[in-house]
């Protein structure tokens, strides 16, 4: 595995909810002790159901939300304790791409202004240079230079997503969090963006934390995959290993649930019952146990630690040794 660029250790994000003068309120554990690394040039995928804390993780890493506790290091530099000034400098090293191509561009700014702002904030180039660079950036993401003069509403969703990517690239980051950048796009457009990301990654040697819920996209794009459930990591490992040899029942259930675009395939699979429990009141022990077909009494007692298997494959399940999830259920 490549030298780590990003190191996250025991990261927690808790939101206080409904606290008023007359009411104590409760804590929502959006992220509850997450540790992982992203290597230089590596693409790490993050999957999990809605509300599992994927976005929160992406933003906490960039310190767009303040972590409650834990460590985040980029290139050896601790992010969580940076002052506002230093944080700004760090912003040129890590960037983010968003899901919603409609909400992620300022409708009042032309594309050129949006991109130039990024350059200006980090004092890249002179005013004249910037015009040139904006054009270059647009070409890099497959848009004509003339797009700079236009406004976001004049573009289609896919084009806007390209603009969003160009903005992230403007400051030459080493690391990008991509928060479901293709989920809102049509399948035909989605492929264009995936290709673009692939190209950029190859050309620029970018590291990516790619958040998604489409398992096939993740598998296609990522070197390693992290499976998140209710703010905890359930399993992580290389894409090949995880998809072919899932060791956590949740991973297996996710893989099973993903519809395969092949009408000839009929599979046996685990169907999860019910929905994600509330992160305000997570189950004791293993948070997945309430929906887990393999749950035993012991699961309620201890929070299973992330155990390491061969080649960095790590799983948080006390029964991971005894279960063979490769085989279909009987």
């Amino acid at each position: 595995m490549a030298e780590p660029l990003l190191v996250v250790e025991d990261l927690k994000v808790h939101y206080p909810i409904g606290k008023t003068l007359f009411k104590p309120g409760v804590t929502l554990r959006a992220l509850d002790g997450v540790s992982f690394t992203v290597g230089k040039g590596e693409v790490v995928g993050l999957v999990g159901e809605s509300g599992s804390g994927k976005t929160t993780l992406g933003r906490a890493v960039l310190r767009l939300v303040e972590p409650t506790s834990g460590k985040v290091q980029l290139d050896g530099q601790e992010v969580t304790t940076l002052s506002a000034g230093d944080l700004k400098a760090l912003r040129s090293k890590m960037q983010i791409i968003f899901q919603d191509p409609y909400a992620s561009l300022n409708p009042r700014m032309s594309v050129g202004q949006t991109l130039a702002e990024a350059l200006m904030l980090h004092k890249i180039g002179t005013r004249k240079d910037r015009e040139q660079r904006v054009g270059d950036l647009l070409e890099k993401v497959g848009l004509p230079r003339s797009a700079a003069a236009r406004f976001p509403h004049e573009f289609s969703g896919g084009q806007r997503q390209r603009i969003g990517i160009a903005r992230a690239l403007a400051v030459n980051p080493e690391f990008i969090v991509a928060d479901e950048p293709v989920s809102a796009l049509d399948v035909s457009i989605q492929a264009q963006i995936i290709n673009l990301l692939q190209d950029l990654r190859r050309e620029l040697g970018l590291s990516l934390l790619f958040i998604g819920h489409d398992l096939s996209v993740i598998e296609f794009l990522c070197d390693r995959v992290i499976v998140l459930y209710l703010g905890r990591i359930m399993e992580m490992g290389t894409a090949a290993e995880l998809y072919s040899n899932p060791r956590h029942p949740y991973t297996r259930a996710l893989l099973d649930a993903a519809p395969v675009p092949d009408p000839t395939v009929r599979r046996e699979r685990i169907t999860l019952k019910g929905d994600l429990p509330s992160p305000i009141n997570p189950p004791s022990g293993c948070v997945f146990r309430t929906r887990c077909p393999y749950a035993v009494e012991a699961c309620a007692e201890v929070v299973p630690p992330l155990e390491t298997f061969e080649s960095g494959h790590r799983v948080a399940c006390i029964r991971s040794h005894e279960l063979d999830l490769r085989k279909p259920l009987s």
């Binding site: 159901e49 809605s50 289609s156 969703g157 896919g158 084009q159 049509d186 399948v187 035909s188 457009i189 989605q190 492929a191 264009q192 995936i194 290709n195 692939q198 190209d199 190859r202 819920h213 489409d214 398992l215 096939s216 996209v217 598998e219 296609f220 794009l221 090949a240 259930a253 996710l254 099973d256 649930a257 993903a258 519809p259 395969v260 675009p261 092949d262 009408p263 000839t264 395939v265 699979r269 169907t271 999860l272 019952k273 929905d275 994600l276």
Partner: protein
């Protein structure tokens, strides 16, 4: 399984238009579609291709003053065996069909239920409306329906408000509501798109089970080819307001004969492990360009600006739906090259 002779719903040349500030938008430009009894037809296509408008047209729920059905016919076989043209039905006759003979489920389970009514009441409303039930009977029916859609503890759950339920539950409620009167046809407009994959699977399995039990025809609108492969008997692919290809599901996946269908299947991220290892082939075959602007459709074939097989003839006229094999038709003059 399918009754070929008299389909449940036979849409012919449906045209639906909207008048907007920037002019008239033809959202549906002559759709032909049949759904047999007990058959599940999947309608796929990209955003804005007219899938929802087609389904709303069937329900005659296009908002007055905003849009209107301006052509075609929709022959629907009612429970009594009578065939009526939905386009020509007066409003009150339509009312007797909606929710009764045709049920519908929408994409957003969060917003499609009335937030201020208990779910039981909302299901009972449909039953009372068409089946002359008393309040009590209707409520009982609602509870029964909730049980049918596998909601645990249905009697208690009937008594809660939608916001007290999860997304998957609400979608079950929607299904219960749509099926409350045993409709012959169920239309689902992307009923699982907003759900997590795990919940999507639950819903798909539920719908499959219900169809087996009740035997209604289903028009299942989606843009997820995986879901299509799961549920459909037959698939219709829409592009730019027209059906561009229609075929039984296996046939379609095996031999896509329209460039758009082909492109769609090709652009799915599927791992080629060999290529990956060699560092090659990490690219997808995406369809270039962007979706059609309905205000400004291209000349001739709607897909021609994005098509790799385009020839001048494609720009001259809109191609007809050409038969590929029986039951498989594609709107492309070069279909035999495409599926090759």
């Amino acid at each position: 399984m399918t009754d070929q002779t008299t389909p449940l719903l036979d849409i012919r040349g449906l045209v639906t238009e909207f008048s907007t500030e920037t002019g008239v938008v033809r959202a549906v430009k002559g759709v032909d579609l049949t759904i047999g009894q007990g058959e599940t037809v999947a309608l796929v296509g990209e955003s804005g291709s007219g899938k929802s408008v087609t389904s709303l047209s069937v329900m005659r729920l296009i908002q007055k003053g905003v849009g209107a059905i301006t052509g075609g016919e929709m022959l629907f076989r009612t429970r009594s065996g009578q065939v009526v043209d939905l386009v020509k039905q007066p409003e009150n006759a339509m009312r007797a069909i909606r929710g009764n003979e045709i049920g519908m489920i929408f994409q957003e389970p969060m917003t499609s239920l009335n937030p201020t009514q208990k779910v039981g009441a909302q299901i009972a409303e449909a039953a009372r409306l068409h089946q002359n039930l008393t309040r009590k009977q209707a409520w009982a029916r609602a509870v029964e329906m909730l049980a049918l859609v596998e909601i645990p503890d249905p009697a208690r759950r009937a008594d809660v408000y939608p916001h007290q339920m999860s997304g998957g539950m609400r979608q079950r409620v929607m299904i219960a509501m749509a099926l409350a009167c045993n409709p012959a046809l169920l239309i689902g407009d992307e009923p699982t798109t907003a759900l997590d994959v795990t919940v999507q699977l639950q819903i798909l399995e539920l719908m499959r089970r219900l169809q087996r039990e009740i035997g209604m025809g289903i028009l299942f609108i989606t843009h997820n080819l995986g879901v299509v492969a799961e549920v459909a008997d037959r698939v219709a692919v829409m592009y730019g307001g027209r059906i561009v290809e229609t075929a039984p599901v296996r046939e379609l996946f095996a031999r896509p004969s329209h460039p758009y269908t082909r492109g769609l299947l090709d652009s799915l991220p599927v791992i080629d492990h060999a290529a990956r290892a060699s560092g090659q082939g990490l690219r997808l075959r995406a369809i270039p360009g962007s979706v059609v602007d309905p205000r400004n459709p291209p000349q001739g074939c709607d897909f021609n600006p994005r098509c790799a097989w385009v020839i001048p003839a494609c720009r001259a006229a809109v191609p007809a739906l050409l038969p590929v094999v029986p039951e498989h038709r594609a709107r492309c003059i070069r279909w035999n090259e495409v599926h090759g």
